[in-house]
């Protein structure tokens, strides 16, 4: 199978970036916004790899490949951190609206059994 046209994937990457940015600003649900950041990131990665394919003699440029691998790992770290933070914020807002909190705030920061180790 012949190589893909890099420009097609380049444009798709830019489209993902724009869609992600729009949704990040417009959407209000925290999960949607976190997914939007991921889509923006995927757009950048598509652009990187499409550019790598342009230098495809005899093989695609490995340097952007390594960069994107780094980027994917950074993105999943960002997602994990953002989800933990979003979860705390949402728990806070849920508790503010109900008189009986689901878990007392002190439980969040209680001592841990692993402390002994």
């Amino acid at each position: 199978m012949p190589d893909a046209d890099p420009r097609l994937y380049l444009l798709a990457g830019l489209a993902l970036f724009a869609i992600g940015f729009y949704s990040l600003v417009v959407q209000t649900h925290l999960l949607r916004r976190i997914m939007a950041l991921n889509v923006m990131g995927s757009g950048v990665f598509l652009a990187f790899l499409a550019l790598a394919l342009k230098a495809a003699a005899p093989m695609p440029d490995p340097v952007p490949h390594a960069m994107v691998l780094t980027g994917i790992v950074v993105a999943v770290c960002a997602t994990g951190l953002a989800l933990a933070l979003a979860d705390r914020v949402q728990a806070l807002e849920a508790n503010e609206e109900t008189p009986a909190p689901e878990e007392p705030p002190s439980a969040e920061t209680g001592s841990e059994p692993e402390d002994a180790g």
Binding site: F17, F21, L24, L30, R33, L37, M40, G41, G43, V44, A47, F48, L51, K54, A55, V63, P64, M67, T70, G71, V74, C77, A78, L81, A82, L85, A86, R88, V89, L92, E96, S106, E108, T109, G110, S111, D115
Partner: protein, 480 residues
Amino acid sequence: MSGLILGPLVAAALAFTFPKRGRGMAWAAAGVVGIAVLSLIRAVLGGGVQSHRVSGWGAPLGIDLRADGLAVLLLALTALIAVAVTGYAAPYLRAADSPEARHRERYFWPLLLFLWTALNALFLSRDLFNLYVALELLGFAAVALVALEGKGDALRAALRYLFVSLSASLFYLLGVALVYGQCATVDLALVAERAPRGPALTVALALMTGGLIAKAALFPLHFWLPPAHANAPAPVSALLSALVVKGAFYLLLRLWFEALPVFHTPAAARLFGMLGAAAILWGSINALTQSRLKLLIAYSTVAQLGYLFLVFPLMTGRDGRFGAWCGGLLLLGAHACAKTAMFLVAGNILRAAGHDRIRELAGIAQVLPVSAFALGLAGVSLVGLPPSGGFAGKWLLLSAGLREGQWWVAAVILVGSLLAAAYIMRVMTRAFAPAVPGTWVRPVPPIMEGTALALALVAVGMGLAGSWFVELLWLGGPWP
């Protein structure tokens, strides 16, 4: 140079593995970094710009590190402030022996060390992609430190900060992709050699600049800064205002004056200047109307960041070039020290009074004389009274503006200084009012007052060391 990265990074990992040794690890890292910075300063002053090829390959395939005057200055500033914060944070975090306090202390040290690693990596790297990784390291550490406060406002501010920081990084990264597509390298110096003016690099620079402006909180993308800086724990606020936003500004300097100087046109420079002027006015006016001390200080940061961007319009000509560069960076250093001192004082006041409402600050000068003195000295530098570093920096900017015939810069600096004097006086008049009995509850350990005073003294004394700055900044700067 390597010790600057490996020292704090390994210390961060160890501080996480052995939570009870966190503070010790921070001091160990401070020792390693201190020695490394001092020897680097000696090497640069003696032998000029130092560079290092990581893994031995060299650009474009490998990553280069480079320490010129600017980088060394910021590394030294970072070390100074990080050491002060380390000294301050230990008693600050031990305020109460509650589970919350233990939890906070346990995670503070590794996060602080990660922040330090990221800043050092940022100041040393010459590689646009490597800088992206350093930026993410910096952003994550900063956000996690803000969230460490654990209260609702801090968590919301941290989340907003994270969203801004992550999307800004992605804008930056897309710019890097375009640069790579055009120049087949991400090394700053090689990009400068291979950069044709054209749509690709114009848009790439716009993307990277947009992202970095958001990270540097330049007006109008400053909206995330006041809540994040005001709600973080005091030592964290100090680090964020003094160093983290400056990291993004530093990268902007590298981009505009080293990698892609061909794009530094008068129009682009004027845009930066206008945004900077707007930031000064907007930030100062907002600082005047705040009711909480930490918010006032945070808005003052928005204003003070504006001054830094005045460097861009002043660098267009030949005459004022070096003066503007030195002025901007001297101001950066003085602001970093003064602002750290102010946030640390705010932390002391919070500790002693349990709040930081400006209206009810009467009597600080009696209860915390050292802190009040530090606040006053830091204010002197922020307003720009001689002989402070703030004065020297503003003076250099002003005279560069006059030499270049850009009178509006002089006007903006004067108005900004008057407004700064107004908001500082607002706090100081309350501070020196007679104390209301019963408002001051808890004592403050002397080291927490001492570190604030020491930094305020550095900020004021920086004006006297101006020639040393100028000598250092000349090395490897953007002039032929």
